[in-house]
């Protein structure tokens, strides 16, 4: 919120005027109301391994994170370029593999990638789209410095929090929105529906039927699944509602089986089809793969898209962007050491206490080392894991992340944040919702923002020009 000199940054000026004139006790009361609101609405997530009744709230902070119109323009140009490149890369990897032939990305990065799906070789997903929905995690380190931290092309979650956070702010502080010109995020569900429908498969006749596939009410992101289906007016289905009928994937309705054209699936590739993938899975639909191959259904995101989430591959993103767009990446990567390379590994091992080390296939903040926050013992233990399996890790410097204020009992206090904007892709183009999910490390000094690790969220405002 404040620049280097301590002055209030321009985008925050109007908000600060409002904030300074408010009674802290009123804001505190509103913050408590917000929590009750989340609870009543059921915006919770289940914590795995604990009592199923233990549905937790993600802490919500009432101070918005504000991004100016010009900052957003720069960011969204970079994001669009990145998502285009990702999609071109996926197409290439599952077709001619030019980038591997050109030696720009090592072949073993693909062949060893667990998310690589040989069955997708030569397949053309309807509309040519792989990454229908993606989320690009971004951090800021200075006034004009944004870095991409991670790409989420598999099944990025959190969009429901982006929408509900805004809804909550509108309910708590309606007067604020009259003062500050904030861009809308509420058209995300309709854009999602349009963009999914635009990727209807060849066999679709008429208006495409869209459904959301969820593992069910015990999944940690169930709230999001039902929320999106509800907002789109689509059916929310589970594997046992579906079967293949007359060469189409159909859902069991009260009046018999009806075909689905586009399936926004929130289950991983492995679980999609027990006949073609994991035989023990009950989350998917037996035979869906054959229907997919025959052009009877669109699966979003396309199977095999998860290779783009690989953190080792991430380190090649600047090359990937250049290879497919012919331009330099507009948004840089965080400098990354690949522990699979001996010189990199040596340097990482030398500098462990100052680095962040992540599992290549990890997610949710599990299995990582945050050097500066770790004890000697933890570092020693991690060193052993790293030496045993260097290929499984990457390392990054702990950037001097910018902070934004949160509202605490003793007033505003700075915390580290990241930002996940949500990107939709269809044959008609790319749509980026102005805003995204801002995650906050609620603990002072912490760099870990994942909700499974106690992180919170706040509303993200992109200002109008």
């Amino acid at each position: 919120m404040q620049g280097q000199g301590g002055e209030t940054r321009a985008p925050y000026r109007e908000f600060c005027e409002w904030f300074d004139a408010e009674e802290p006790s009123r804001i505190h009361r509103k913050a408590q109301q917000a929590e009750a609101f989340f609870r009543t609405t059921g915006i919770t997530f289940a914590v795995y391994g604990q009592d199923e009744a233990d549905e937790r709230l993600i802490p919500f902070d009432v101070v918005p994170r504000i991004i100016s119109a010009s900052e957003w323009r720069r960011l969204s140009r970079g994001i669009e370029q990145r998502v285009r490149a990702l999609n071109a890369f996926l197409h290439d990897i599952y077709h001619r593999q030019e980038i591997l032939r050109a030696g720009r990305v090592p072949t073993e990065l693909i062949s060893r990638n667990e998310a690589f799906l040989p069955m997708m070789m030569g397949m053309d997903p309807p509309g040519g789209v792989y990454t229908h929905i993606s989320g690009i995690d971004i951090v800021r380190t200075g006034a004009n410095e944004f870095y991409v931290l991670e790409d989420n092309a598999r099944t990025p979650s959190g969009v429901s929090y982006m929408l509900e956070n805004r809804e909550t702010m509108l309910q708590m502080f309606p007067e604020l929105f009259a003062k500050v010109p904030v861009r809308e995020v509420s058209d995300y569900p309709i854009n999602l529906l349009r963009s999914l429908a635009a990727c209807a498969p060849p066999m679709c006749g008429g208006t495409p039927t869209v459904a959301v596939l969820t593992p069910g009410i015990h999944n940690s992101a169930y709230f999001e699944h039902s929320f999106l289906a509800d907002q789109m007016g689509a059916e929310l289905v589970e594997g046992h509602d579906l079967r293949v009928v007359n060469g189409r994937v159909a859902m069991r309705t009260t009046q018999g089986y009806k075909p689905i054209d586009v399936l926004y699936r929130r289950v991983d590739d492995d679980f999609l089809d027990p006949l073609n993938f994991r035989p023990d899975s009950v989350l998917g639909v037996p035979g869906i793969w054959d229907v997919y191959r025959a052009g009877g259904i669109t699966i979003a995101n396309a199977p095999g898209t998860g290779i783009a989430d690989d953190k080792a591959l991430y380190s090649y993103m600047p090359d990937i962007i250049e290879f497919y767009t012919g331009e330099k990446a507009l948004l840089p990567n965080v400098p990354t050491w690949r522990c699979s390379e001996p010189e990199h590994l040596k340097e990482v091992l030398d500098r462990l206490p100052e680095l962040v080390v992540k599992e290549v296939h990890g997610s949710g903040g599990y299995g990582m080392l945050v050097g500066p926050a770790a004890t000697k013992k933890e570092i020693a233990a991690f060193r052993k894991k790293l030496e045993a399996n260097p290929r499984g890790y990457i390392a990054q410097p702990t950037l001097s992340l910018s902070t934004v204020p949160i509202f605490t009992r003793s007033g505003l206090a700075p915390r580290h944040v990241d930002l996940r904007p949500f990107v939709l892709m269809s044959p008609a183009g790319i749509t980026i919702t102005p805003g995204g999910l801002t995650r906050v490390a609620m603990t002072k000094g912490s760099l870990v923002v994942n909700s499974s690790q106690g992180g919170g969220t706040k509303d993200t405002w992109v200002l109008e020009d």
Binding site: R39, T40, T41, I217, M251, R252, T254
Partner: protein, 313 residues
């Protein structure tokens, strides 16, 4: 609409109705226990039988100690019919069918689960029981209010209403059966004036003791009470009322889907054959036999609805 969703709406409504019925039963039992400690044991047993939990209770606890029965019926997670279990199942079904609920209805169900979870976290003290039971009824009324006020009158609405009336008919029939069987074992009692407190509890458990007096004055007989609870169509918990409503809901579905169903035929048969004759003829054939037959027909209807509308594969 998905068969699963239709099933979830139907079961959500059944469980919500069940929680309210069970609260009413506990209230009736509690009142007897307070006013007539010498028959309390028998009364608690009849409450448990009506709730379908007698065997499970006996296995776990043995004797019919008042506070133990109340605790078992209110908050025992091992009792699938306890209020807390039933409300949890209602909420799980509501979550599954969430995309078909208005925000108001979902929030009413969720709030009810949170509120009752809070009230029932610890064993309820005897002097707090009336308030807790009132809160349970109130939560249920709030869901019903949100439901009536905001839901589209579409197929989902009709499936949920079907669940409500099917459960309610089942419950009213069980109350009658248990009371009849346990309290009027001798044929000699039939048609004669019966114990004041007993009839009050029957009527209280369906919230109808005042309505009864208003309709029938001071004449209290097994025949009249049975007539009131079985055939009286203006009484919202009578079998005739519930069956009429089910028939309406099924008719709506048949017309809207353009599909005649076996369930529609079964419901029409129940209304026609069992609820369109004078009470005396029901008594002539034996009230217990009549109710047993009704419960069986009602259960068959429930199974047929699940099949006709593909709630499960």
């Amino acid at each position: 609409m998905l068969g699963k969703t239709a099933g979830s709406l139907y079961w959500m409504a059944r469980y919500l109705e069940r929680s309210e019925n069970n609260a009413r039963l506990i209230e009736a039992g509690f009142r007897i226990a307070l006013t007539r400690s010498n028959t309390a044991q028998a009364e608690w047993r009849s409450v448990l039988v009506t709730a379908g939990s007698d065997r499970r209770f006996k296995e776990a606890h043995g004797d019919y100690n008042s506070s133990r029965v109340v605790d078992f019926l209110l908050r025992d997670p091992a009792n699938p019919s306890s209020i807390i279990s039933v409300v949890k199942q209602a909420r799980d079904n509501a979550r599954t069918a969430r995309t078909y609920l208005t925000r108001e209805v979902w929030e009413a169900v969720n709030t009810s689960w949170m509120t009752l979870g809070g009230l029932l976290r610890r064993q309820v003290r005897e002097d707090d029981l009336p308030d807790v039971l009132a809160a349970i009824r109130q939560q249920s009324a709030q869901v019903r209010g949100a439901w009536t006020g905001t839901m589209l009158r579409n197929d989902g609405y009709n499936f949920a209403r079907l669940g409500t009336f099917l459960e309610r008919a089942d419950n009213t029939a069980r109350i009658l059966d248990v009371k009849y069987f346990l309290l009027l074992p001798s044929v000699a009692h039939i048609g004669t004036s019966i114990d004041n407190v007993q009839w009050e509890t029957i009527l209280r458990s369906v919230s109808a003791h005042r309505a009864y007096r208003w309709l029938y004055g001071t004449e209290i007989s097994a025949l009249k009470i049975a007539e009131f609870l079985i055939l009286y169509k203006q009484m919202p918990r009578s079998l005739a009322f519930c069956c009429d409503k089910m028939l309406e809901n099924l008719d709506w579905l048949q017309r809207s889907y353009g599909q005649e169903t076996e369930a529609g035929r079964l419901a029409a048969a129940i209304c026609r054959d069992r609820l369109s004759r004078p009470i005396q003829s029901i008594f002539d054939g034996g009230l217990h036999e009549y109710i047993t037959d009704f419960l069986r027909a009602n259960a068959a209807l429930a199974r047929q609805i699940e099949r006709d509308y593909r709630f499960v594969e």
